[in-house]
Every structure is written in C-alpha cells, then in structure tokens.
Amino acid sequence: MADSTPATSTPTMEPDVASEATIPKPFPISHIAGRYLLFDVNVISYARRTHNITGVLIGTIPNLSQQNVFLGIPLELQPEEARVLVEQGHAFIVDDAEVHRKGMMAMSREQRLKLLREMDREGMELAKAESRKAEERSTKALKEKGLTRKEKKSDESNSSAAVEGSETSLFDSKGETPTAVSVSEKKLEPVPITPTTSYPPLTTPSANAASQLPDVPKSYPLFRYLHSKGYFTMPGLRFGCHYSVYPGDTLRFHSHYLATGLDFDEEFELQDVIGGGRLANRVKKAYLIGGEVTSENDKEAEGDEIAPVRTFSIEWAAM
C-alpha cells in the first residue's frame, strides 16, 4: 500500500510552516470534566502530523447532536494519547476550570475595568451594526413598495414632534418630553456580551504549572510501545479490543492489528484469544496481545527506565 502512494501527494503532506510556528511548544491540553481536549485546529493537525496522535473529533452542533459523521473540534484525546504527549514533553495538561477561576479571580481592578469597557465597546459595535441592518431592511422594504424613505432629519423632527404631541395630550406632564426626545436620539444600548473564551484577558498558561500525568488504563504500556514504533492508534471498542492499530495515518491506511493490552501475569481465557483472532481475521487484521515484561522479583523497583513490551500476533490458521 505504501509503495503505491502517488508522488503527487507529497506536497500536500508538507507541514504548514506558518501555522506551525504559532503553536506553543509544549502545547496545552485542556483537561475538562475528565476529558483531554484540544481546541486549536493548528495544534490538532500538528499533533497528528508530527506525533501520530489522531484523537477523536467530538464537536457537534448542540441542537443537532445526532449528527455524528462530520464532527468538528474539540478533539478528544484518549488518556493514553495525552499521557504519551506529556511524557515526551510535547504537551502539558491544563485544568481548564481551575485556570479560568483563578485567572478571573486574580484580575486587578484596572484589568477588570478594561475588560468591561472592552465588552461594552464590542456590545456597542454589535448594536450599531444591528440598527444599521434594520435600517437597510426597512429602506429596502419601502423601496419595494415604491416609497422612498424620508430624510432622516425631517423624520426625526416629525417623530419627536409627534411624540411631544402625544405625550402632552396623554399625560400632560411637560417635564418628561425632553427626556423622551433625547432617548430616541441615543436609544442604542450596548448588547450584553457573554464572552465565549476567557482569553483575552487570560493568557495561555505556561508549562511550568507542574502538570499531573493523566491516569491511564493498564493497557498503556502496549499503547506506548505501539506509538514508539510509529503506529497510529484509534479506540478499539468497535472491534472489542483496546486499540485498532494503523501502520500510518488512519485516513490513508487500513488498520493492521486489533490490540489488547494485558499485564504480563494477567490470566486470560483462550476463548478470548480465539474470539479476537477470529474477528480480526474476518476483517483482514491480526489480533495482537501484549504487555510490559515485568520480572517476578523487582516488580516495585521499576524506576524511571521503561520495561520492554512483549507482543504476540494471532491469526486464524485456516484448518
């Protein structure tokens, strides 16, 4: 499959240098409600291109959550993927809720006022744009009916006169009228804005915040081994295993293995091996079991060095 790749595909594979330069290294992984998420498209493509991390896109339209084929950002990383990135120093974990809360609380008065003013300004711009649009709409509607819009000045004086007249006739209170006129002139109120992101004012946190390592299942050593060999992995639930393992980018290759990670001394049923092998054979793959080699005496003295991983590929013998 690899040797039949057309040569023309190479230019598109070249990294987009401009977007890559903007990626902070290490890049932050947002930890929100137990999920590891990436929100930046550039970071997502960078992680995929450079670190063989695919993750799963989970972003959908809130009102159309049944749409599940063409999902968008954020990208959810498996804990194993996040762990590999953190262990290799390519990324760090950010507890988003905590950073947000702390950042908002720690803001100085000037910063807060600045933020509020900024929000007012944005709201005002939005309101102006709204009213302009409404005006254009009404002009267009009038034109369609063959009418032309009256001059703005005359319109305003007319309306204010009308207001004055009506006000006096109704309430007979002269004090109110000037206020009403001034309001109609400056009736634009800033639209209340709820910012969708907290930066600015918050900046991207730096890596020094001692980021904890993501908790990973016991199949992690196998994942790390596969990743170190340059394989791409996807969650293997649909094949009843831990990972489906691809020899290259998942968009270009079929997967080769259905991998299940085990402890070295974990007992497994032969029934499971046969079932896995049978299923994998059916979908033209091999079933892979593997785990970290632990020697029986120094189980707790593992230290920093990474123990080797032993794997076995299983295929149906067709007899």
């Binding site: 060999k229 293995y257 085990l262 091999a286 590929s313 007899m319």
Partner: protein
C-alpha cells in the same frame, strides 16, 4: 452385576482414548500425564484429520536441553500453512515470470509454489488460563524452525526460507468435546496476511 470375561464391554473405548491411555502409561515422566495425553490427542487430530506428517513430540528445549513448559509438537502440514504477505508478493511475481516464460497469455493460471514448512504446535485446553509470561516462556524455548526428524535425509533438507524470520507456533486448542481449533501465534508484531 458383574461382567464375565468373555463378554464384550458395553461401550468400546474409542481408538483415541485407548491410544492416550497406552501412550500416557509408557511415556517418560517428564511432564504431567494430562499434558502428555493432550499432546497425543492433538497429534492424533493433526495426523488423521488434517493429514500432517512427520509429527514429533518434543519435551526438551533444543537450546538448553531443559524441560519445555509442556510437551510441544512439530510436524509437516500437507501444504504451506502460513505465507508472510511480503513472501506472497514475491511468490506471485515469480509465478508471473514463470507464466510469461511459458509464453502463456494473461488468462493462464498462476501456479504459486510454496513448499510446506515444518511448524511448531502448542497444545492447549480451552479450560486453561494463559498469561503473556507463560506464552513468552514457550517462545523463548524454541527455535524459529523446528528440528528435522532424524529419519529424514539431510540432503533432502530444503534451503531455509529467508522469509521465515520470526518464531511462530500453531496454538492448538482442544475443547472437552475434542474439537480442536488452530490459530497461528507469532512472536512480536507481524503484519496480517491479505486473505
């Protein structure tokens, strides 16, 4: 009710069970009799159901001469059991060249020549539980290619297949109803066949 000497037993033991009984009795006490009889059962199945030949039982590692974790079998299948995908591509190319040399058209048949190879067989019972460590111990004790039986002439020994670089065993799993299923287990990551 006692049975007299001249009467036949109500149910005759099957040839397999009498074989197991015999063999288990006269085998050397290297392994548990249950493991020996399992090996004999698999051997019987391979020989008579799958037409394998040159079946041998191995009790000791050829490297260290220590006892294997359990008796293993080796034998020759009637046709090649496993062809690595890269070897398959090579064989198809060879066959294509041969066909062109014969001057046949595209429609002519490709005859792929893959000579059968001796295989290791690991007998197991479905009721057993295995671990990666036990599996690794079996692989550590065997060579890539099983030894040739003494009866075979050395000159008949074919050139070693250059594609056979990883250890593999045929995991023969027997159920209590004597169904045996065969799966190929390879040491390490070996890409799947294009079946």
């Amino acid at each position: 009710m006692t049975r007299t000497e001249h009467m036949k037993p109500a149910v005759l033991p099957s040839p397999l069970s009498s074989l197991i009984k015999d063999e288990a009795l006269r085998s050397q006490p290297s392994h548990l009799p249950s493991l020996h009889s399992l090996a004999i059962q698999i051997q019987h199945n391979l020989q008579y159901q799958h037409e394998w030949s040159d079946l041998q039982i191995h009790t000791r590692s050829s490297f260290t001469n220590e006892l294997l974790p359990r008796p293993l079998l080796s034998g020759l299948p009637p046709q090649r059991l496993y062809i690595h995908p890269d070897e398959q591509i090579e064989l198809l190319k060879d066959a294509d060249r041969a066909r062109k040399a014969r001057g046949e058209e595209e429609g002519g048949t490709l005859d792929v020549k893959a000579a059968p190879e001796r295989e290791w067989i690991l007998p197991a019972r479905l009721s057993e539980k295995w671990t990666l460590r036990r599996l690794a111990e079996v692989f550590d004790a065997i060579a890539v290619v099983p030894p040739q039986p003494e009866s075979e002439d050395m000159e008949e020994d074919r050139a070693a297949n250059p594609w056979r670089t990883t250890k593999r065993v045929i995991l023969a799993t027997a159920d209590t109803d004597s169904t045996v299923v065969y799966y190929i287990v390879q040491d390490g990551m070996v890409k799947p066949r294009q079946n």
